[in-house]
């Protein structure tokens, strides 16, 4: 990995060249959600298929801006993110999938209330960095990337990287009185 900025370049979901299939999303207390996922070979057929499936599953799930491999029952460091059109998003990189992603710089910490598809009945107050640099590898091409982002996309990336490490937002809540029954009033 070079230290210079390397964005997504011309990578798109089409680069994967396989149709994504929707997989069922698992909920806590499924143990796969609490297990740190291993690093993956981003060019393997299995990981390319998983990447396409994560995007497909994210896209059919209402309001979903990110989905990590453990949420579809696969313990692995792979996740999809797409915050396009979200009212709180500032920097937006569109739809992308990262493998073996790590946070390399984090600053401007800010508390916010977040929920998760895999913990459908609870929300919690969690502090996340508002400015973030993440390094990872693109599935399919295997090319390293370094993404610089902020705001809502930064929060989504931290949430998904946590999933890959076997952590839920419940592991990061600000205190004993910082979890809430989720209020759905659709």
């Amino acid at each position: 990995m070079t230290a210079e900025y390397v964005g997504l370049g011309d990578w798109t979901v089409e680069t994967l060249s396989v149709p994504g299939e929707v997989r069922p999303v698992v909920s806590a207390p499924d143990p796969v959600l609490s297990r740190p996922g291993p690093e993956v070979d981003p060019t393997s057929d299995e990981v390319v298929r998983l990447a396409a499936d994560l995007v497909a599953t994210m896209q059919v799930s209402p309001g979903c801006v990110g989905l990590a491999a453990p949420q579809v029952g696969v313990s692995a460091q792979v996740f999809a993110v797409d915050v396009t059109g979200h009212p709180k998003a500032v920097t937006v990189h569109g739809t992308f999938v990262l493998c073996n992603a790590k946070v390399v710089e984090a600053s401007r910490w800010k508390a916010g209330r977040e929920g998760c598809m895999s913990v459908p009945d609870l929300t919690g107050d969690v502090k996340r960095a508002g400015r973030l640099v993440v390094e990872g590898v693109l599935p399919g091409t295997g090319r390293p990337v370094r993404l610089v982002t902020d705001g809502f996309e930064a929060r989504a990336l931290q949430h998904e990287i946590d999933h890959c490490a076997g952590l839920l937002f419940l592991d990061r809540v600000a205190g004993a009185h910082a979890i809430y029954q989720r209020k759905v009033y659709l």
Partner: protein, 170 residues
């Protein structure tokens, strides 16, 4: 299946939660939702558990209260099930110089607007009084409620803020 509401209140010391939870576990009681805090230094715990008979839980908790430092109450309650949310979630924060009736006046404004308080903490420290409440408001009513809260707060000489408790679904 019995559903029981239990309160334990009294002088704080290390180990009360462990003692209560252990007594309940020995009876095969399933501790479901609970909350515990210290209120002006007093231990205060409220919990719901499912399983044993009221008298059995009272007997199991009696040794805890034997020295007169803790008071435990047990009563059977009717399972509520999932209560339907009534509105949009907001957080109301009030702070200012302590005086009589702050909580009464501010929560009356919420109640009159059809708001439902779902969590509440109040703290008095020195002369500063603080109220933080989670409240569900009828959809579309927040601007009007905020105005009424501001007028009531001005009458009381305290400050109030009402902000959405919006959740980012990730």
């Amino acid at each position: 299946m019995n559903e029981l509401a239990i309160t334990v209140i009294g002088r704080d010391r290390p180990g009360i939660v462990a003692d209560v939870a252990e007594a309940l576990a020995r009876l095969g009681a399933n501790l479901t939702d609970s909350t515990m805090t210290r209120l002006r230094g007093h231990f205060a715990m409220t919990l719901i558990c499912v399983g044993p008979a009221t008298a059995d839980v009272e007997a199991a908790l009696a040794p805890l209260a034997a020295d007169g430092q803790l008071l435990a109450t047990v009563r059977a309650v009717t399972p509520d099930g999932q209560t339907a949310p009534t509105g949009e979630p907001y957080v109301m924060a009030v702070h200012g110089a302590d005086r009589m009736g702050i909580v009464a006046a501010m929560t009356r404004v919420l109640a009159d607007a059809g708001g439902n308080v779902t969590d509440l903490s109040t703290r008095l420290t020195g002369s500063l009084y603080v109220v933080v409440a989670e409240v569900e408001l009828p959809p579309g009513s927040s601007d009007e409620v905020a105005g009424r809260l501001a007028r009531t707060a001005a009458d009381l000489g305290v400050g109030v803020s009402l902000r959405p408790a919006d959740t980012d679904l990730l």
